[in-house]
Symmetry: D2
Subunit: 353 residues, 4 copies
């Protein structure tokens, strides 16, 4: 059931990198919601284009919605979007299966699926499936907007270069960035891009972090203990390939603080209870507080690198020196930004449908 | 449905801090499993006693198993354990409800439950419910042991003091620590304890991190994309109060590395595929690789501190200066160690029942 | 996960006939609901006493609510009710396990649980667990009442004796029966009771059917296709031991009709759309129509009969002539009436919490 | 979440009658299973063609599998099948929406989806979606066959004409019928077909029942109480439009019997425990006994009839005399036979993947 998510809003993602198509079924959005397909495409394009900060631009993924809409309006039936995989040339992939790529899912997938896993282009482990995720997320974003809730993310770091211009109290939809390399600090942005260019030239790759906020979420959304906002958000975000960590509010930094440093004081702003700081990230006890929901996600460096690596040859149970060819994103962080937004939007929408 | 977890192994936790009882229903463990209640109690005691590294020792929580066992052996029916709450004196809690404690769930719970939430002792948000979690985890540990899988955790840091003696490749069940303040580096341990003593004397509290490994897990356990090991593990671990972040393998540190630094080389150790390093933490693509599964959890400082804090008075919509009385753990990290082990054991057991 | 039910309202039933306790955890009822424990007990008593239409009366089952209420009001935490099993004398049950009783679950349970199943008193297959179901159902009934929805059932038949005084259009909460042998037609009632007396004297048992209505349910509750009202209702009702069939509206009788005989004409009663007849049973396409929801349940005769029966001896793989001793209900239909009401209330409440 | 089914085997059905496509995502079948697409198509054709026992034959529905297979073998990723809806002419359907058809889902769907429901061709309530169900069922049948389990159904009655040549003890895969009007008794078959012809000429329709067996299922599959075989089977079968009742073994007939008449005696057939009769239908306590699993399903008469019917006009809140035009199956029972087989195969497969 690994491809199905959610309770009242169910997301079923399907496809493999080189299957005929990938896609998603979104079940549970309310009927009567007008879907803006252009806005959806704009969101999709952020994922498609960001790979190398606007170089080697690919054609955008264009989802074809085959069910769930009547004249552009949801009818209550599940919405299904298809993205056909064209121009797929798989070639001979048996050699590939015999030499699992380090830090990819090749080897555990081989064991899990008794060698029958689809290795072509990474199969169902491919980052390509995040296109389906973004369709679902894009639809949920449009639903959330009708409730006054918006989700926005930025690149918080590439390697050790950080975007420090971020205020978890003041963040709001007016200052969300929507370009393909969203960084608030222009100097940091330039340094990040230079860094990516450098690792690419070395045949290497690099990781980074993404910071995401949901604003407009009222207090009182979520559940205590074992099915709260953090539980659901983390569960969905870890569905994005290459994510190795998720933290809320101060996150791991809170572990170094004292209570008096970490607690956020409450006050009244008119009739609204707010906190003066937002170290809790808008969630306490699994339930929203009304402050911006803020989380950060760790993205590991792309495992596919040109440099030669040590691996094994499964058929002979021996060692093997692997060189991975082809073009790979030297850094998937920019393209993962809308994916994080999508996962967050999906998780929150499940509470509100 | 916030109190129910799992697919094939279902954990239902119930109770509030000052309810007559707390407890748990564990459904799905195989029939015919002999439960060692003494071993279970030993595990429970680690949670109960660790509060202040062996000072102010409380009586251990003794679960009473009321269903699911016949002469100490599972019969296939759900196992239910009760822990009665004795000596509970709630007093007048209306005043408490009017002044939400910073960084506690009081305020969002008040909104979520329309003011009807049980505020006494923190209600269902209380850390006390982790006793129920540990019963479930203790049972799952015994099940996993029959499969050769064991789970062990240690305190990785308190504040900025770290236990650096940890090797994610070599970790194994022989070197798991099971005392109430499990730290490998004796100097670090002493410094951590001194730090906790210091913050307690200041009426403050402090956070920390816990590192946990599951060993003996074969390769091929898990699922791709959206219901993989990370998804499920994170979802369960965030059920522990005060957790603000979860990371696997190198986690957030991976975000600062290049691919050539972060990828783990494969090699054959006899017939077994292993990795020379373990930056991936035993999981790739949501599926186990056969290497130790390693994760870290960020625990925020206890929100209840003696120092005066700014909060609001809900009834008058005004400000309020709050002083929290009573004894509180200055650091819940030691007591959270078996809770993390429990959550990990539960998540893994769900795949194997 | 056989003991957990539901999506937004989760019911976890636990216990075996001779375990220390049975009980239920109800998670998802809204906070702020005042529970009338006396009304709950009255409902429970209908199940407890009806066994032989007021003879051999047993003490009522008294649930002890150990969590989820604060001063009689739901607080949002799961409600847990315990019923202690007192005076349980199991004796030597190994002989029992070796000779599976016909039409009981003994044999398939033996296979399913590798011989470790709890055979004492029927274990978790015992009708006793319906006491826990009735606690959950009784709580849901009180919740539904706040929405104007009530559930009532009657004995529709015992053997081939039928209660014909039932109108699925006019049924309403004013004419629900709540005694322990609820039959509208007094002559049929007397005949049914005489029939039960007769089979009891023969050391035999007899089956029957129960008809249940939910009234006050507005149109538009439910879902199309695979998670609709019938799906959920049937799934929950088959959780009651001895149920062998469920039908809605005309049910199996509809299979003998033509469309012109079976279709219900629509008309306006003031502003409300109604149907002149109610052969559809208040559900079309998985969604309520606003007419009374009507269903019928087939209850098989109690399998435990005094008459000698042919079975096997598992240890020797040979035949065995079995005589079942002890007192058994000659007809469980009367006691199953509140159980059906409970299952229906639980299924409907899940949509409305 | 009405379009998603299952725990370890998840079935997501999507589409509406006049959407661009309908289809299904099947997640959880084991990797390495070779799919025989021709056999799948043969199964699909039984649903497509049976409408009027071989008259007015339509082209078969040809599913296009777009994911989950590599060279005809499952790879562990979800299998997605699409059936494009060609030649769909919806015309003006607003008039249709204003006059809900009796016994169709039009009216409750209108309320449920605030008037935004897709009324064209019945939308997601259309029997057309059972084509997607049959794809999933056809795949599950192939999986079950590798376990020695087969599922077969026949028409048990049309109106009051019954196929009496059926033995629930002796039923086995050798005597399953696979033609488009599967009836064992040739006389009954002829009478049924004559009856359907007659009602069609009268502009009317007629209902019937389907009897289905699963053979080869070993003892011990299922779960007690609330998630057993009956619960899951019933839940899935009620997903087929027009089903109004489900019964197992003797079903409603058991309600008229005594225990001594209804209990099935156990005996040893070699090393295998069997029952001499099969009134229990192969399930006791939610768990299989090893005898053929036998159930019956009530199918109501097709609601669409040519005869004028009374309904309402929603826009004016007044009465309306409705005549339904177009060709409709006078009896959907034959086409529902493979649908029941599909639902049963899906429900059983979920336990065995």
């Amino acid at each position: 059931m690994s491809s199905v998510w959610g309770r009242n809003l169910t997301i079923t993602v399907f496809g493999q990198s080189h299957a005929e198509a990938i896609g998603v079924v979104v079940d549970g959005l309310p009927a009567g919601l007008r879907i803006d397909e252009e806005e959806l495409q704009t969101f999709m394009n952020r994922r498609a284009a960001g790979g190398a900060f606007a170089t080697s631009r690919k054609e955008p993924d264009v989802p074809r919605i085959v069910s769930g809409l009547v004249e552009g309006v949801t009818c209550g039936a599940p919405i299904t979007a298809l993205i056909e995989n064209t121009n797929v040339k798989s070639g001979d992939y048996r050699d590939l299966k015999d030499h699992p790529r380090p830090a990819h899912a090749d080897y555990p997938a081989y064991v899990r699926f008794d060698g029958a896993n689809d290795i072509r282009g990474g199969g169902q482990f491919s980052g390509r499936l995040t296109a389906a995720l973004c369709v679902a997320g894009g639809l949920c974003r449009q639903f959330l907007k009708t409730k006054g809730i918006e989700v926005g993310a930025h690149i918080a770091s590439i390697g050790d270069i950080r975007d420090t211009l971020y205020d978890p109290v003041a963040v709001n939809k007016e200052n969300f960035l929507t370009d393909n390399f969203p960084v608030y600090d222009a100097d940091a942005k330039a340094a990040m891009q230079a860094r990516i260019t450098a690792v690419r030239e070395e045949g290497d790759s690099i990781g980074g972090t993404i910071e995401c906020a949901a604003v407009g979420l009222p207090a009182g959304i979520g559940d205590p203990l074992f099915d709260g906002l953090e539980n659901r958000l983390a569960s969905r975000i870890f569905g994005i390939p290459a994510v190795k960590g998720v933290e809320f509010g101060n996150g791991f930094a809170a572990a170094e603080l004292t209570g008096s440093q970490n607690n956020d004081a409450y006050y009244y702003d008119g009739d609204t209870v707010k906190t003066r700081t937002n170290r809790h990230g808008g969630i306490l006890g699994g339930i929203s507080t009304g402050m911006p929901l803020v989380l950060r996600v760790a993205i590991k460096p792309t495992p596919s690198i040109a440099k030669e690596q040590e691996t094994v040859e499964l058929s002979t149970k021996s060692g093997y020196a692997l060189s991975i060819h082809g073009r790979h994103d030297p850094c998937i962080v920019p393209r993962a930004v809308p994916c994080v937004e999508a996962a967050v939007a999906i998780a929150i929408a499940d509470y509100l449908v």
